[in-house]
């Protein structure tokens, strides 16, 4: 429903920062988390948050791109799409309507290290929301016509991604950076794989992954923890126990350290430079987060100051370092006018060289830490984000309280650490460039 807001139609022109999808510290105001492990292996996390009359749920399954073989790429995401399209009791439309009756929504998607079913509702309907999530998680009917419909939607998203300059260049970079490792493949899948997935394979994929030991359920909102435990126990009693054996480890990433150029009709050139970077559990995680922020965090990050403020070379630019269970990546990126391409790429390379060679000042490190932790505190304020964070870190094996430890680790990062991790990780870039050609 659109509140009568002009901006809702996309007319707002923002000054535009590319924010780092980051993780970071604990805000002093967050209420405690109740953690409960049921006998079948299901883990439940509840945060009672009285701030607003709403509730959010994130159910995350150990299933996603990381465990997919090349010939199955995209299966987790397609399965997730179909899971919310019909159960033994409800049609797709009945699910959508049931969610809307409680002032909420239920949706699902597959990602790299997890797949998620998420839901929101007005807090007074929390039981109905949990009931709906349990119904789709436990009794999906995977109707054949819904599989076809969602396949068509995903194929159209795949095509659409190929039309958008940044995502296209980004996907090209990751493929080249990871080589045979599954992180190099988009979680949407590819046209050839998505076209071939059938109901039997989806059902098999569902049965292998939707097991209590592979699932974390997180709830945040105006709810009572003990009441949620009781309700979840009743609703999820039929979830198959256990977690099945892990698939064999995927092949190690093999960065190409090459420079690839795509030629496409576009108004802007895109330049992306990528490096392999530590996993979530790796010892350098916090230091590389601070390094990423120094480069690309906010309007005072080095890339913004040097390349946008001082040289006016770009509107969008930044640095990305997502949290990954296995070897992650650090990507710096920039969109610029075609005639600036060479200058912009040189500028990016110069900033990387500078941070490797010159020790940053303690003041700059302090600023980056404050920005990083401040952004995290702000991102953690909605119930949907709360639920997501809780489930994500629990499922990744570092525990839902990971962020508290992480905040302390960020505080401990020094200027020497920055130079050390910059030297270690920002060595040979893998580069992907989109070079505009006339339309």
């Amino acid at each position: 429903m659109n509140h009568p807001v002009p901006g809702a139609l996309g007319l707002i022109v923002a000054a535009g920062l590319t924010l780092i999808p980051s993780a970071a510290p604990a805000s002093g105001h967050l209420p405690p988390v109740l953690r409960h492990r049921f006998p079948n292996g299901l883990t439940l996390l509840v945060r009672e948050n009285p701030a607003a009359p709403v509730v959010a749920v994130s159910l995350q399954v150990k299933m996603g791109g990381r465990w997919e073989r090349p010939e199955d790429a995209g299966i987790s995401n397609l399965l997730q799409h179909v899971v919310v399209k019909g159960t033994a009791r409800r049609s797709a439309q009945a699910i959508a309507e049931a969610a809307e009756e409680i002032g909420g929504s239920v949706s699902a998607s597959g990602d790299t290290d997890y797949s998620e079913l998420r839901g929101t509702a007005l807090a007074r309907h929390w039981k109905a929301l949990l009931g709906l999530i349990a119904d789709v998680a436990l009794r999906p009917s995977l109707p054949a016509e819904e599989i076809e419909n969602e396949r068509r939607v995903i194929l159209s998203q795949v095509r659409n991604r190929g039309d958008l300059p940044f995502p296209l260049t980004f996907d090209t970079l990751l493929a080249s950076l990871y080589g045979p490792h599954p992180y190099g493949r988009p979680t949407l899948g590819q046209r050839q794989t998505v076209e071939r997935l059938d109901r039997a394979r989806l059902l098999d994929h569902y049965r292998r992954h939707y097991r209590a030991g592979r699932i974390v359920l997180a709830v945040s909102g105006q709810v009572s923890g003990p009441a949620v435990v009781k309700e979840v126990e009743r609703l999820f009693a039929d979830l198959p126990a256990g977690s099945e054996a892990e698939a064999p480890a995927p092949p190690a990433p093999a960065a190409a350290s090459a420079r690839q150029v795509l030629e496409r009709p576009a108004a802007q050139a895109q330049i992306l430079m990528g490096y392999l970077a530590p996993s979530l559990a790796g010892g350098d995680y916090a230091a590389v987060k601070v390094l990423t922020t120094l480069l690309g965090g906010g309007m005072a990050g080095r890339l913004f100051v040097e390349l946008r403020d001082k040289q006016g070379l770009a509107y969008s630019l930044g640095a990305l370092y997502p949290s990954r269970a296995e070897t992650s990546f650090l990507v710096i990126h920039m969109g610029t006018a075609p005639e600036n391409l060479t200058r912009a790429e040189e500028g990016l390379r110069r900033e990387v060289a500078r941070i490797r060679e010159e020790r940053v000042t303690p003041k700059e490190v302090q600023r980056a830490k404050a920005y990083l932790l401040g952004s995290l505190a702000m991102d953690r304020r909605t119930n949907a984000r709360q639920a997501w964070y809780l489930a994500f870190f629990e499922l990744a094996g570092v525990g839902h309280e990971f962020l508290d430890r992480y905040a302390a680790a960020v505080e401990a990062v020094t200027a020497e650490d920055i130079q050390r991790v910059a030297g270690r990780y920002l060595a040979d870039p893998t580069v992907a460039v989109l070079k505009p050609i006339p339309k």
Partner: protein, 422 residues
């Protein structure tokens, strides 16, 4: 300073300073973050032909330093303490926000006041920022969805200020000088044309004390915003096809709709929601789920101060453009003939209630809603919004569908791959 009521945890305090500036304060202790918004009644619609894009360029320049604060002030005063800031420009307004830990809030009000009236407009900074804006224009062109909406406005409001591009006109932006830009800023950034919103873990009395020694000292300028002519009605179906390099086609239909102050806004809001605002909406069920004709479809209502726009937008295969447009019109005719059901009406109201409940989870959600309403509407209307929505009847929604969605007067915009137009 007259106030509209005693401070309360659930209602904002509204102050009108002697110079005409309005200040809205509300305590919100869900976290220790404070949202500080400055809203200015200036946007694309206020620009003369030689000023196209000035509102937006001014917005960029305000981050580039004041007479006493150098270009790095954002770093020192906001990001270094864990805060963030950004801004946006639209047709009716420009807004700036600073989001930061509560203990820094009072200082940030001083920064905001400085930015609002003492911006430096350094010529060197202007030169660079102009290039940044051109990059922003290119970025928008590469994104079909943002291009689609920007162009739809020009076709629904041809020749009207709402039909102008907020990002401006290349010639006007190139010709902008420090003097012309600063003149524009001085003219529009008058206290009578500004609203400050402070929401978060603050004490309202502390906030008004800082406001008294900052914003309240700016002299009144006697500013009155130019009224807008009403948008001319569309004479018939206006069709525009743009060939682009994407493989997917995009389609948008737009109707001229009532402005914010109109009594029908509530009915039109519910109508857009029932038509295409959710998964269970008519268009989504008919065209995406049953008809399999589109990969996504949405209807929305954008109410502006002097006009409004109902849009339906879809992503589809190029070969289906004609079929999809016909199917959208078919669903509209069906609502016009049969009206809507009580279940649909109730569901749309619940969706609005829920959207509101989620918006107030954060201080900035509230600050945005209050700042927008005070700038282009009235704060009181925002506070009564849900109540007004609940009182809308099925008959009123039915009537709104007949009045505002004529199937023979609308604008159509299609983006198609090369050779895909038909």
């Amino acid at each position: 300073m007259p106030t509209s009521g005693p401070p309360s945890l659930h209602r904002p305090t509204r102050l009108v300073l002697d110079n005409g500036m309005r200040v809205i304060i509300q305590e919100h202790r869900a976290s220790d973050v404070v949202a500080l918004h400055l809203w200015v009644g200036v946007g694309g619609r206020d620009e003369r032909p030689a000023e196209l894009g000035f509102s937006h360029l001014v917005e960029h320049m305000l981050f580039k330093g004041t007479e006493t604060r150098g270009p790095g002030f954002i770093d020192r005063e906001v990001e270094a303490v864990g805060g963030r800031t950004n801004a946006g420009t639209s047709l009716d307004y420009t807004f700036y926000y600073i989001l930061l830990p509560a203990r820094q809030a009072l200082r940030a009000i001083e920064v905001m006041a400085d930015v609002a009236v003492n911006s430096a407009f350094d010529p060197k900074e202007l030169e660079r920022e102009r290039q940044v804006v051109f990059e922003e224009v290119r970025l928008g062109e590469d994104n079909p969805r943002s291009s689609l909406f920007r162009q739809l406005y020009t076709h629904v409001f041809p020749g009207h200020p709402y039909g102008r591009p907020v990002l401006g006109d290349e010639a006007a932006l190139k010709a902008a000088t420090r003097e012309t830009l600063r003149g524009y800023y001085r003219r529009h950034y008058a206290p009578e044309n500004m609203v400050l919103v402070v929401i978060g873990a603050v004490n309202p009395a502390d906030v008004s004390a800082v406001v008294e020694r900052t914003f309240a000292r700016v002299p009144a300028a006697g500013y009155r915003r130019q009224p807008l002519p009403p948008p001319p009605p569309l004479p018939g179906v206006r069709r525009h096809v743009v060939s682009r390099n994407e493989k997917q086609a995009h389609l948008a239909l737009g109707w001229s709709a009532p402005p914010l102050d109109h009594p029908d806004v509530f009915a039109v809001d519910l109508l857009a929601s029932i038509l295409g605002g959710s998964r269970s909406s008519r268009l989504n069920q008919a065209l995406r789920e049953r008809g399999r004709l589109v990969s996504s479809i949405r209807a929305g209502y954008g109410a502006l101060q002097g006009g409004g726009l109902v849009s339906v937008s879809a992503q589809l295969e190029p070969g289906d453009l004609g079929k999809v447009e016909e199917a959208i019109l078919g669903e509209i005719r069906r609502i016009q003939t049969e009206g809507v059901t009580e279940v649909e009406r109730r569901r749309a109201i619940t969706a609005a209630e829920s959207e509101h409940a989620f918006a107030i989870e954060t201080a900035e959600g509230l600050a945005y809603a209050y700042g927008l309403a005070e700038t282009v509407w009235r704060l009181e209307e925002e506070l009564r919004y849900l109540e007004r929505l609940r009182s809308v009847t099925r008959e009123q929604i039915h009537e709104a569908a007949r009045r505002y969605l004529p199937v023979d007067r609308y604008a159509v915009l299609a983006f198609t791959p090369p050779g895909g137009a038909r």
